[in-house]
Symmetry: C2
Subunit: 254 residues, 2 copies
Amino acid sequence: MSGSLSVVGLGPGGPGQQTAETAAVLAAADAVYGYTPYLARVPEVPGQARCASDNREEIERAGAALARAAAGARVVVVSGGDPGVFAMAAAVCEAVERGPAEWRALDVSILPGVTAMLAVAARVGAPLGHDFCALSLSDNLKPWPVVEQRLRAAAGAGFALALYNPASRARPWQLARALELLLEHLPASTPVVFGRAVGRAGERVSIVPLVKAPAEPADMSTLVLVGSPETRVVERPGRPALVYTPRTAQRDGA
Amino acid sequence: MSGSLSVVGLGPGGPGQQTAETAAVLAAADAVYGYTPYLARVPEVPGQARCASDNREEIERAGAALARAAAGARVVVVSGGDPGVFAMAAAVCEAVERGPAEWRALDVSILPGVTAMLAVAARVGAPLGHDFCALSLSDNLKPWPVVEQRLRAAAGAGFALALYNPASRARPWQLARALELLLEHLPASTPVVFGRAVGRAGERVSIVPLVKAPAEPADMSTLVLVGSPETRVVERPGRPALVYTPRTAQRDGA
């Protein structure tokens, strides 16, 4: 048995934000598994099988990929961004734990990538330049009260925040509720960055104060960064503002 | 004036974990600025100036790079990992804010990279597969009580943790103190990952339960990941264990 499974991240945008090792592993794969829009970003290789599936089917996709690797194929599972941040690496580990014993003997590797929050942060400056948290707003996989409790804890302690999965058609109210809750813990002027499809067609970036953030549009392609009380906006004539969180923190916190 | 300043991340390890756009910008630069060991990882280009400086001199380095860009050069500032995570992008933004007006007119871009916590996480599975915080243990730039308060808030709310700058010769006791504090909030069996120089010569990765973690060695090249109460270890015969945090959270938190 010489099969293998690699879980890779395509980065946030074009091939320029992908790592060289990810590009090499994709080019050598016998089969590539992924959510349909991510697979569409992978260059086609003659003779390579491409197995697209829907967003909600992570565990089934992981299991199918592991079974194919166990049968001897070089299999790659793709995520957008980094595979370890709200993406396929955890689903593959879970499938290995629950699956047949032979899956534990497989050569499984995970190759890191540039996750969306780093790309959005880079576009505007360095809003994640000091301590920060990454939090999914999806309540498909955890109860909403857990989301609220984590928002309060993180903002109250002075972390900046990266909010993944802020909104979808099935989850229309969660982001506005989260931002209103954060207003109880943070100044109304706290900078909030909305980054949609950063590095891809349809990119849109906006910087608004927290008090105005609940009215901003967001969808499944949006990542939202919320500053800490220390985060600053530097206006630049003729250029977009820079947003950054200083490396120093004087504040004792809440 | 046609100068520009790019702030880039070299990724955690070899050139395989660097993005294509970062490699291209480095190859085209007139001058490259950075901390000496990071500069040593940049391929030399004939005619390109290389300006190495010490670790503690971020603001001075940023100012020197901005001044050179303002004089018309294509300048690149390098960080290890991602430039926006405890690295040079925030220092450059701060220097722009404090500096002469002409620096605000400059073409400044920040190119994201793979930050160390993503590389260490990928090496062992997906310990950052659900909500997590990134926190610097350095008390050079913030008071130690702020570090303790953030550790309590994050662990108490169920976040996994990535601890940057866990130890140095000048800060020998902070990591053990942080881990002992986390033991008041987390099960003794919580998985802790020590990743040293991941992707480079001298790589060493270990997985230990939190109760044993204070005795593990760590230095400036080490990144420490602390799981949440949901983080799991999957033993594999003949292969390293997988560590992952499931995508689901049932727990209501503390």
